[in-house]
Amino acid sequence: MPVEICVSGQTLTARLSGDIDHHTALAMRTDIDRAVRDTPVTLLILDFSAVTFMDSSGIGLVMGRYKLINGLGGECRIADPPAYIARVMKLAGLDRLCRIVSLARIPHREEAENNADN
């Protein structure tokens, strides 16, 4: 499976794997969009840690998911892209739309947010 979906509370994590190009991006975006529409979440994390290649089709993929979750009132983050993929993302200015984070840090943030809610 090129996309593994995991929902935890208000967070949906889509773990992408393999190459992201024009050929594979379509199936990935269909999977993510279906999951986002089926599950009401406020945070979408696109986990890039297992992505082996990405060209500008991946930029389109992130921008489209950003628009979707933003339209639903949520937020989008990119997690752990390999160094060279992070370069492509920065070239496109994606880091200005979505924060690039490390997944190891996110649970702490959530905890803090939950505590703030309580």
Partner: protein
């Protein structure tokens, strides 16, 4: 224009059907052919990305509404570590090249094409030339000079590591 073949150490020509499955095939070929020059992981990634953009452009734009098209990929390696890559299609061509090369310009916004193909190709290679004529197709030539191989200095340990990295396969995760 005469083609300068001086110091060319290897050459290949590949012709494949303009179907999106072959984007990955083209990248795999580039990767395999380049291994002779033992490129750095980053250089290999950059050239694979540039080729992926070019081939995708041919398939998505060049042969839009045209079936049975083929894409030609030609590569040359030179003794000075220069890599020459030519990608040609006989598709619809680009009407206005300078407009097409503008960042974010796309002919297919509904398909979530970011319009960054040319920007990526330009930033990941040393030179990019585009020739196109409406109705006759597009020829794209990219060149990049790879870094010199290190010869056993302390610094080379680092790059040797990164060289090794690209030979090791990424573990498959299911």
């Amino acid at each position: 224009m005469p083609i300068i073949k001086k110091n060319c150490i290897n050459e290949m020509k590949l012709c494949f059907a303009a179907v999106s499955e072959n984007e990955a095939f083209a990248r795999a070929c580039v990767s395999s052919f380049l291994s002779q020059l033992d490129p750095l992981v980053s250089e290999l990634a950059e050239l694979k990305t540039a080729v992926s953009e070019a081939v995708t452009n041919s398939i998505v734009h060049g042969y839009r509404n045209i079936s049975g098209g083929t894409v030609l990929l030609q590569m040359r390696l030179y003794a000075d570590r220069r890599v020459y890559i030519k990608i040609r299609d006989k598709g619809c061509g680009i009407e206005d090249i300078s407009k097409a090369m503008q960042p974010l310009f796309t002919t297919a916004p509904e398909e979530e094409r970011a319009g960054l193909g040319f920007s990526v190709m330009e930033s990941f290679t040393d030179s990019l030339r585009v020739k196109s004529s409406s109705g006759h197709g597009t020829v794209l030539v990219m060149e990049k000079i790879l870094q010199e191989k290190d010869d056993g200095s302390i610094e080379s340990e680092f790059s040797d590591k990164s060289r090794r990295k690209h030979r090791t396969c990424t573990p498959l995760r299911k």
